[in-house]
Each structure stands twice: as structure tokens, then as C-alpha cells.
Subunit: 465 residues, 2 copies
Amino acid sequence: MYKSSLYKNLLVIGGNVAGLAAASQARRVSSDLNITVLESGKFISYGTCALPYYISGIVKNIDDIFAYPVSFFEEKRKIKILTNHKVVGIDLFKKEILVNVNSSSENKFFGYDRLVICCGAIPMQHNIPGINAKNVFHLRNVEDVLNLKKYISLSDPSKAVVMGGGSIGLLAAEALNKLGIKVAVVEKADKIFRDFENEISTILHKKVKLDGIEIHIGCSVASINQDRTGKAISVSLSTKDENMTMDTDLVIVSTGIIANTEFLSDTSIELGINKAIKVTPKLQSSQLNVYAAGDCATVKNIITGKDDYIPTANNAAKMGRIAGENAAGGDLVFPGSVGTKTDKVSGLETAKVGLNLKDASEFGYNAFKISGSYYSHASAIPGAETITITIIVDASSRKLLGAQMIGKEGVGKRIDIFASAITGEMKIDDIYMLDLSYAPPVSTVWDPVNKICGKATLELKKRKF
Amino acid sequence: MYKSSLYKNLLVIGGNVAGLAAASQARRVSSDLNITVLESGKFISYGTCALPYYISGIVKNIDDIFAYPVSFFEEKRKIKILTNHKVVGIDLFKKEILVNVNSSSENKFFGYDRLVICCGAIPMQHNIPGINAKNVFHLRNVEDVLNLKKYISLSDPSKAVVMGGGSIGLLAAEALNKLGIKVAVVEKADKIFRDFENEISTILHKKVKLDGIEIHIGCSVASINQDRTGKAISVSLSTKDENMTMDTDLVIVSTGIIANTEFLSDTSIELGINKAIKVTPKLQSSQLNVYAAGDCATVKNIITGKDDYIPTANNAAKMGRIAGENAAGGDLVFPGSVGTKTDKVSGLETAKVGLNLKDASEFGYNAFKISGSYYSHASAIPGAETITITIIVDASSRKLLGAQMIGKEGVGKRIDIFASAITGEMKIDDIYMLDLSYAPPVSTVWDPVNKICGKATLELKKRKF
């Protein structure tokens, strides 16, 4: 328990993963702080990552995606929760934030001694004609999916265009496809899952297509064309070679996110990559008494040692907890992130950690990549599936810089072996010899993780790096 | 490629995981060595761990458990394979081994320049009356399971007693149970899976019982009682309190193994724990030119730094490869093992790495354990199962010493995160903050691995260690 004689009021901006982690941790370590969470939306404490599963119906009841109700925080944790409270300004000198309540015309002031900003990220904005048509949807929050679900049940759409071939876009496409809607995914880059190496993304591309989803890569949406009622009815694409128009009944925009920090643009709080709040290892912003965590903050990339933007829920939860403890008087350090992520799309688990080859080369590493395909478990036991792995290695230090994987099973948690190894600064030689578990239904005698690193040692020998 | 002017003939004793890994690696790094593998049994290159799955019928064809046929080694790798060649003696001065071929009355000599001993382990011997009855079976090799399968199909047994409540015993019990045979497991220790903490073994115990398998703990078999034809018909148990006799149609002995090194007992090759050949980090025995790997050799325990006996296939494969390379002129070091293992018994995955609390205390660590139960993935997504984890922590250094897990899914490879963390000498604080993957169908935002280590940090704070 910390003493908080110098600060009585802790304000937290944002009522989702990072914000609630911060408020809860502050309460755990301080019984006498006044803790208030201000959330711009109507809902708190939900898993953004679970939203696509509500669209598809895998999650049947929207209530199931909420981790805890408001009453839990208010009664059990003595944390005041104010929803529909949108922060529009901040006075760092007076230690006050300006809040718009319930979209009213008047704003309210809230004073703080310590502030934790966990306001998340918002969809990247586009200047595309028609982007504001009523049947164009984002997938960032509960309101978004409720709107989409309502539209689907009322309008019974048969065709959809999804802008963006990242994980949210593909999960949305899969969900709509499951509902019987014909989906086309439009991706600007030359591949879906653009952060992944071709060895991995190609496998996903084929499977998504096989499931009946159209994919247009190297394409951008030039305009969304509306009828007289303001409803999007088609999408015009511009590619390198030609222009084409696709009829559609709805559009989903999932082309990436940017830190939700517009309200800080006139303040002295320093912003960094992707407009995220620059934070110290203790998650302090450039302003004393102001902390930040989650999708609105920068993250130290453990591999490069540099500021990065890695807006994962796993980072948000940890950062929130640390920012909350420090704001309440603690002195913890967030070690940073190796960018571990996983997804399950079209029946395939994908996973990634660390740098891809392009990033590694840009950071000056003497990097190479190597790939292999292996069984997920002993082939004698039914259900063994192929896993494809690509790893990125620094030839000079022999350290692992990144790893990517795809397969029907045994991918999401296998990537964590690499995550742990990268965090421990292991060389490929160490990972090749890592003592990994074996039983015929679980793995092969040499785990795929051992195997790909063994292959990399041979590659290094061959290349005489 | 190494030059082998000093050694032309490489003999490998043992034609399973370690031996074939050694021979294959020797060939990879030396094209001109004469490489001969001597195997005492009829079969080579099979997965011992897969044998129980052949009993149950999950593996339908015995051929499926063989990794490679003899012809593969002979033709592709130019390795001579001699089966039914049982090594009975060794002359270290003359560099010769004495081999009994096809159980004939005469023995043959084989000279070597370098020798790799990978003769594995054999079942622990017992002086129990009746142990040699014709329907008493072991489960160490292909002959064993073929005999058992033959007996089952000819005699249609309805009851079985399994001696030993370790993984092989329970896998055998499960397999027999699946075939409709009523099974009783007899375990000397006060629990099944005796290396595991009670938090884990109790869960397994309950599930195995629920599946209809009887378990008698704290019990030993006093005698196996035979009819006049030499067939076991009942088993007499002695417990602390009482004696009881159970009728049975067959007995399986799976009470542990011991290194198969009887033929070395009169030599100057030094034996260590469990009669295993003591090896250096380069896997040399106490004799120049003699290497050892796999279940017949000691293993460096990475945590304690001491010699240990950890007869897993994962160790055997790695040790074999390194011993083979070194015997052919290489200079590699085997880093050792953290004792990672997993099993799937009665629909539950179990896994263990590192020390249990008893071992940790005996090694002088200021150790404590802590347990928790968590969802394997987000509970909103169907199929989330409870995982129970116990970890062993050194309170003085805050380092993780061991971890154990049980659950229906997501256990076998999650243990490898701990294996990697222990190898990297991570503190519980580091693992608490480890960047582990999250997606609703794969994990929870804080992975169970993070959670249990977070809980351990709180415990340390509370105890003021």
C-alpha cells in the first residue's frame, strides 16, 4: 500500500482494458485514493478482439463479451465509472480535464492530482467520397458491432466489401461469410496480413479464398457510391491497371488505427509514432503526473530498444496495471513488448512475434529469413496438421529477431516459446537445443521450434556469415 | 565435414531415437566414416512413446510408429544396420565390443575407433513371485506391445492390473480401458504421477477414476499368483493396513526404468545416477572415444547444474545428434535439460518442467509453490477449459524453478513457455510481464503463464521473503 498524501484524486481516461487495469491496480495498492474512470462510450470492460465473434454469432449474447459490469468496479473496487464522458481538452497547469457529457452542449471540468490516459485508438480516417454513408461500418467498439448487427438483421444484405486485409478485416470477412453474405476484401498492400512474410500470408490468402471470400490486393477504394437515400450501393476500386466497381450492400472499414490523441494536440504532452503518447519505462508521459497506457501510448520494443506502436490487448493490460500502480505511488517499470500476436482466421491460427525481414533490415540488422513446414504432432496420431514457420535471424549475433507461424493447431501458444526466447535474447543455437515437451498427440520429438532453428544454424554454416 | 583420418569405424549401440540420431548426424558431417548400428531387438526407429496408442488402436497399423525403415538408413545414409545384435561385453583396451547375434551360442567381435552407446533403458527389475508369468507384460519396445496385442486378441481378457501409476502405466490403463478391459492401477507411492504436486495429480486421479479405472495408491504388489499353466490369475497387494487379492487376466509392469548398462558393469566406464553412463558436456563417457546419449546416459540438469537422469525422447534426440557429431570429429556441447515433459492421459494434457517442491528444497533452494486455475482461452468463445498450474519459485533469487500444468487443452506447449523462461533464468517478475500472444479463441488477455507468475509476485510481497 502506498501513501497518497500528495495526490487524492486519480482520473483515468478510458474504460476498457488499459483504463480498467490502471484503475483496479491503483485501488489494489491504495485504499484511500478517489479513483474515477471516464469513458467516452456507453460501454466499458469489453474485449475489442471478441467483437468479430459476435458478428458471426459464435458469441451469441453481447453480454458475454463484457469482462465485468459497472457495478463490479463501483461496488467491489470502489471505482467511480462515468460512461458517455468524452474528454475534449486538458489543462495541464490547472490539472483539469474538460469533459463533454452525453453529447450535451455544455462541458464539465474534472480536477486530478494524477491522470492516466488510456483513451485507446480510433480508426484511421479516410477522405474517400461516401465514407460516411450510413451502411459504412467500423469495428472498434460495441456500438459499432451493434449498429452492424442491427443493419444486417433489418436489411438482409447479400454483398459486403471489407476495406483492409489485416486481422480485423479478415475476421469481419469471415464472420459475414458465415452469415451467408458474399464478401470482397480490398487491401492496398500487395498482400493480406502485410506485416507477415509471404511464406505465411500466402497460405492464409489461399485458405480465405477457398472459404469463398474474394480478395483484391494492391487495390484501394477510390469512392463509395451512394444512392439517393445516402446508402452505399457500390465501391469503386483503383488498381495499378484498371478501375472496377463492385456492387455492395455494406462496407466495413478496417484499414488500421491511430492513437486517439486529437484532444492532446495543443498540449505539451509529447506524441510519438502514430500520434501515440510518448512514455517513459515507468509509463509517464512528458508531463509530470500524467501517465499513459494501452493503444494510445508508445511501447518500448524490446528487440530494437526503440519506441514502437504495438496496440495489442496483451500490452494494454500490462501497461494499464503498471501505469495504475505508478500513478498511485508505485515505481514499476514496464519492460516493453516483443510484439507477440495471434489470430484465428478461416480455421487457421496465425501468429507473429518480433521483427519481419523488412523491419529487421531497416533497423540495420544483418538479417536473413528461413522457413519450414512441420507436423504439429506425431503423424502416427490422428489430427496432425502442418505448421509453417518463418524466422528472422541476425546473422551477426545469431540472435532470433522474429518468428511467424501458420497452421490449423498448435500455433498460438507455440509462438510464445519464441516470444520468451527473444525476450531472453537467445541465439538460434540455444533455441535449437531448447528442451521442449514431447508426447505423440502434442508435438514431435524435435518440436517445430527446435527444427526451424536447427535449419537456421545449417543456413548460417552454409552461408559462412 | 570433419576429417576422420584417426577413426574410420564408428559403432553405435542402439537403433532407436538416440542411436539413429547419432549415426545420422555422424554421416551428415563425415562422408567417409564406416558407420554401423547394432540393435539388440528386431526393430529400429520407432517411437516408444507411441506404443500405448497402438494398444488402444488409435494407431491402427504398427508400421505407422516407425519413423524410417532400415532401407532408408542403409541406402540413403549409408549406415549399416544390424538388428538382433545384442552387445554383451566391451574391451576398451582393444576397442572391441562383443556381440551376441540372433541369440546364438557364439558371440562376435566388432572393432571400433569411436563408439556411441545409446542402448537405452530397461524396465526396473522386481523380485516379486510370479513376475515372469507368461501374461505379465512390459511396454518398452515393439516386441512387448506385439506380444500384448496378440495375447489380448487370443485370450480376450476382461481384467487387468497395471503396476505403476506413472505416465506409461496410465496410458496403458487408458488403452486397455478403451478396449473394454476392467483395469486396476497399483501405485506404491501415495499418489499417481508421483513427480507432480498434489494440486495437479489429484485432478488427474479424479479424471482417471471417472473414466472407470480403479486406482490403488500406497500399495505394492506382493505376489502375482499363477495357475498350473504358468498364467497369472490374481495379484496380491500389500498396503499399510491390509492385504487384498485381485483377480486378473493380465499384468502390465510399468514401474520405472533403469539404464541398460549391465554389460558395462565390469568396465572402467563410469556409471552415475540410475546406472546411467556419466557423460561430459560433450557427451563423452569417462573413456576416450566412447560417447553416450539417450536413456542410458546422465543429463546435465540446467537448473541445478548437476548430473540428472531425464530419459525423455526430446533429450535422446538432441543428445544423439550431438554425440554423433562429436564422435565423428565435432566439438559440440549439449546444454542439458530442464526436464520438460508432457502427456495426454484420459483426455487431460499434463506437463511438467524443472524441479518439484521436494526436489527444490532438497537442492537447498528457498523454495515455495503456488497454484492457480485459469481459462485456456477467453470464456466468451466456446471450448474454453480450465487449466491448473503450479509453479515452484526460489524466493531468494525470485527465479522460476519448476512448473506443472493440467487441463483439457493448451497445456503441452504452454509448458514450453516456462521451459524457455527457466532456461533463460528468468525471474517470476519477468515471466509475469512476458509478452504472450492473445486472441479470444487461443488465450486470455493475461495468459495463464503471466497470471500464475503475477500471483507468485504477490505471494512474495505478502511473505516479505
